[in-house]
């Protein structure tokens, strides 16, 4: 018999998705899940956007379940890159944007990593410290060398801009730099527009290739244009760049696995060649992407008043999170905590990097049935007016 038993090792649980498993196993009725970044309303319920339900009705009974082309649903790709780069973006008008529908953010990053391995041979990817844990898995499995650059400063719970610039200053030419376009995961700490400008100039000078992971457009500030400002700044400066987009959070399409990988190239011919090679990578991975989510997004982005209705819903979600940040901070201050908690409202997006230790995280789970990833990352989407008091009290307890 083929010896699976002795040769296969048990792989560890995923640090992020494993949190939900632990939460589900807990029987405490007041348990709180602050693990995975999936939006919840004030009743802690998952939300399907109204525009999505409407789109669903429209496309139901569709006669079209055929294979999409390898590169996905073209109308979706076209709208997606316009959302990222701007409706009137020059690079789009020039026809030099390679765009491929992908399996949400993960799928976009993996396609890019595989492309990088083949077509930027020897180039390392610089990844901010810390970053979304799965970035490391993706680039590792694509066999791309990883380096890191300083990003988060624990002392200020803010950006270590000097460290960032210094580390990238020392990067080899032709390296790829992975940047979170907005709402950095897990810290919630974003560069200011002025800092983005400076970084863009540095990367031009050092011939570093920007790869933006944009998983939260619209979700950070509530404004899609504002949230893609970093990318627009880089485009203005003339960079060629890559961008991973996900519609998991901003359209609540988590399980549909809908996203887009695009690469702004030097010219039309290059864009076409690059797109053809990304497609070759996709063909050997999954052949062609799932149709359902693409039709939903295309439907929503395709009609002006529905698109506006979507903008409003995203703004609503972003605002609820901002409100929760304020509430949490107020509660922590009122609890009498001697620690500094202003980062709770200064950080942006779905996550708050609380600054608590792994042991304190364990204590929150064990003693308070409050679950989060061990790096102290709190998904603010899991905070509600009903549980914020208890959360603040528990945080105060474990940190005092």
């Amino acid at each position: 018999m083929w010896k699976t038993e002795t040769s296969t090792k048990q792989a560890p649980k995923d640090p992020i998705l494993g949190v939900t498993e632990a939460y589900l196993a807990d029987e405490n009725p007041e348990k709180i899940n602050l693990g995975v970044g999936a939006y919840r309303d004030d009743l802690s319920k998952p939300v399907v956007l109204k525009v999505v339900r409407a789109a669903e009705e429209k496309i139901s009974g569709k006669q079209f379940m055929e294979y999409l082309p390898i590169g996905g649903y073209k109308p979706f790709n076209e709208k997606s890159v316009k959302l990222a780069y701007g409706e009137e973006a020059q690079c789009i008008q020039d026809g030099r944007v390679a765009a491929v529908q992908s399996l949400s953010g993960t799928g976009s990053c993996r396609l890019f990593a595989e492309f990088m391995k083949r077509y930027m041979p020897g180039a390392a990817v610089y990844i901010p410290k810390p970053t979304w844990a799965n970035h490391h898995n993706i680039f590792r499995d694509a066999q791309v060398e990883q380096k890191s650059f300083r990003y988060y400063k624990p002392e200020t719970k803010g950006l270590d801009f000097e460290g960032l610039m210094e580390d990238l200053q020392g990067a080899a030419e032709g390296s790829v730099v992975l940047l979170h376009a907005c709402a950095h995961n897990p810290t919630g700490v974003d560069p200011t527009p002025e800092q983005w400008q400076e970084l863009s100039k540095l990367m031009l000078k050092k011939h570093l290739y920007p790869f933006f992971d944009m998983a939260y457009q619209g979700f950070a500030s509530g404004d899609c244009d504002r949230d893609s400002q970093a990318i627009r700044i880089f485009l203005e400066d003339g960079h060629d760049l890559g961008c991973s987009q996900s519609y998991a959070k901003n359209m609540g399409l988590y399980g549909q696995r809908i996203g887009c990988l695009s690469m702004v190239c030097s010219n039309k011919a290059e864009g076409s060649a690059v797109e053809s090679q990304i497609k070759a990578v996709a063909r050997a991975m999954y052949s062609n992407p799932p149709v359902h989510g693409a039709l939903l997004v295309d439907n929503i982005l395709g009609t002006p008043d529905i698109k506006q209705a979507w903008f409003d819903e995203v703004k609503g979600m972003a605002e609820r999170i901002i409100d929760m940040r304020t509430l949490l901070q107020d509660n922590l201050v009122r609890s009498g905590s001697s620690l500094e908690w202003k980062h709770v409202t200064e950080q942006i997006g779905m996550f708050c990097f609380s600054g608590i230790s792994p042991e304190q995280v364990d204590s929150l789970a064990k003693d308070h049935s409050i679950y989060m990833t061990r790096n102290g990352r709190i998904s603010m989407a899991g905070v509600t007016t009903k549980n914020v008091d208890r959360l603040a009290a528990a945080l105060h307890k474990v940190t005092s």
Binding site: P46, Q63, P193, K201, E236, A284
Partner: protein
């Protein structure tokens, strides 16, 4: 190089931009001093299979016929969404399902259903916890996760692919960094199985190699081993301690019976052989674009299954995190409801029946037009495809002269043939065989 017409002067640093406006500004010309790092990227050729459909679309002739990709068409040559699928979708909308992330290994009710379909309901292997299943992106995705598992957890082993095989098998294993070799399969002389060659090559492969076997309706040839031959292949796998990796993309579609078409993997499992199985619901439930499938390991112990599952999840997490929910829910609905399941079986019998019918018609026409050649292979072969034996030159003639699109290896998809076009096809084949 595209040049901008508006100049700001060399390398002038723009002021902080208004968010919504993208000015045509100069800085790009600074990059002209240096070649793009991606200039050397070559245009990839169109995919040999999926590229055929693209070429077909571009053809403006009324006579055109697409026998390229294996997607089922009705007699009117229209795509077909199964009634039972529409019903399931309607149910799902009415139920107001949410759109949350599935677990990494997919929808639990789908995973349960898919194993039941593969092995038969209430199989001992399931009860004993010896099956590891991850929902994945149809056949391709399941194969790719399997390939990555081989690369990571069974390193140094070679994968054996039938000659010929579905083109994408090669790409999948190569992309995952797994070495592959061919075993003999198709005999052009008999237009059938080269069983001796197959057995010899599998015997000569190093012990504990991975052998990719098509569960039924071999793609591209349509030539399957008999039950007796499957038994012998199984014997050999036991002797050589090989790991069979079944690609099951047509269960139900070949003979019209789900059980009949699962004979081979079920036989191997009942022989106590550990196997890997990639399943796809693209064809048999018409869910092509939804990308629904599963990768299964049926093993000899539950502890091994547990460990393997943990590895598969880690691999999947780095490719796509978790699989798409929509198609899996449809499968789960259909299999979970007796009426719908019955209806599905009927629709599948109908689709398989149409293909069998059209095979017979094609053969009848060819026998009439060209009685000197043996055309019996057309009805001997099974499933969506027929390996016609046409050479690349003859295939070109089919396309250029007769506007009939097929893959260069001579494969035609019977699923794309209608009764009304069978004679046209027969004449084109005859012309190509005689004159090219």
């Amino acid at each position: 190089m595209v040049s901008h017409t508006v100049f700001d002067g060399p390398c002038v640093r723009p002021t902080v931009p208004q968010v919504a406006s993208i000015r045509r500004c100069a800085p790009r010309h600074c990059l002209h001093l240096r070649a793009s790092r991606l200039e050397g990227v070559e245009q990839a050729p169109p995919d040999p299979i999926l590229g055929v459909s693209e070429a077909f679309k571009a053809d403006t002739s009324d006579l055109k016929l697409n026998l390229g990709v294996g997607a089922y068409r009705t007699e009117e040559l229209k795509p077909y969404v199964l009634n039972v699928v529409k019903k399931a979708e309607r149910k799902m909308i009415d139920a107001g399902e949410n759109k949350e992330y599935l677990p990494i290994d997919g929808l639990a009710s789908f995973n349960k259903a898919t194993v039941n379909l593969l092995l038969g309901f209430d199989h001992a292997a399931v009860k004993e916890g010896c099956v590891a299943t991850v929902q994945s992106l149809s056949g391709t995705g399941s194969l790719r996760v399997g390939a990555q598992f081989i690369q990571k957890c069974i390193p140094g082993k070679t994968v054996y692919l039938s000659n010929p095989t579905w083109g994408n098998h090669r790409g999948i294993f190569s992309s995952a960094g797994v070495k592959w070799e061919y075993y003999r399969y198709f005999d052009p002389e008999t237009v059938g199985l080269d069983f001796e060659g197959l057995m010899e090559d599998i015997k000569n492969a190093p012990d504990a190699s991975i052998i990719v076997l098509h569960g039924c309706a071999h793609n591209p040839t349509g030539v399957d081993p008999t039950k007796e031959q499957w038994k012998q292949i199984a014997d050999l796998c036991v002797d050589k301690n090989h790991l069979p990796f079944f690609d099951v993309a047509y269960q139900g579609f070949a003979s019209g019976s789900l059980d009949e078409d699962a004979y081979a993997p079920r036989y191997f499992v009942d022989r106590g052989i550990e196997i890997m199985v990639a399943q796809s619901y693209s064809k048999n439930l018409g869910l092509y674009g939804e990308r629904v499938g599963a990768l299964n390991f049926i093993l000899s112990s539950s502890s091994a299954a547990k460990k393997v599952l943990s590895q598969l999840k880690q691999i999947a997490r780095a490719i796509y995190s978790n699989p798409p929910v929509h198609g899996a829910r449809i499968v789960s609905e259909v299999v979970g409801n007796d009426d719908m399941f019955g209806e599905w079986k009927q629709e599948m019998e109908y689709m398989a029946g149409r293909i069998k019918g059209v095979r017979q018609e094609l053969q009848d026409h060819l026998e009439r037009i060209n009685p000197d050649k043996d055309w019996s292979f057309i009805t001997k072969q099974i499933g969506m495809f027929s390996f016609t034996g046409l050479t690349p030159q003859q295939v070109e003639n089919m396309t250029n002269k007769h506007h009939i699109y097929m893959t260069k290896d001579g494969r035609i998809s019977l699923a794309g043939l209608s009764s009304s076009k069978a004679e046209y096809l027969a004449k084109a084949i005859d012309d190509s065989v005689r004159n090219c």
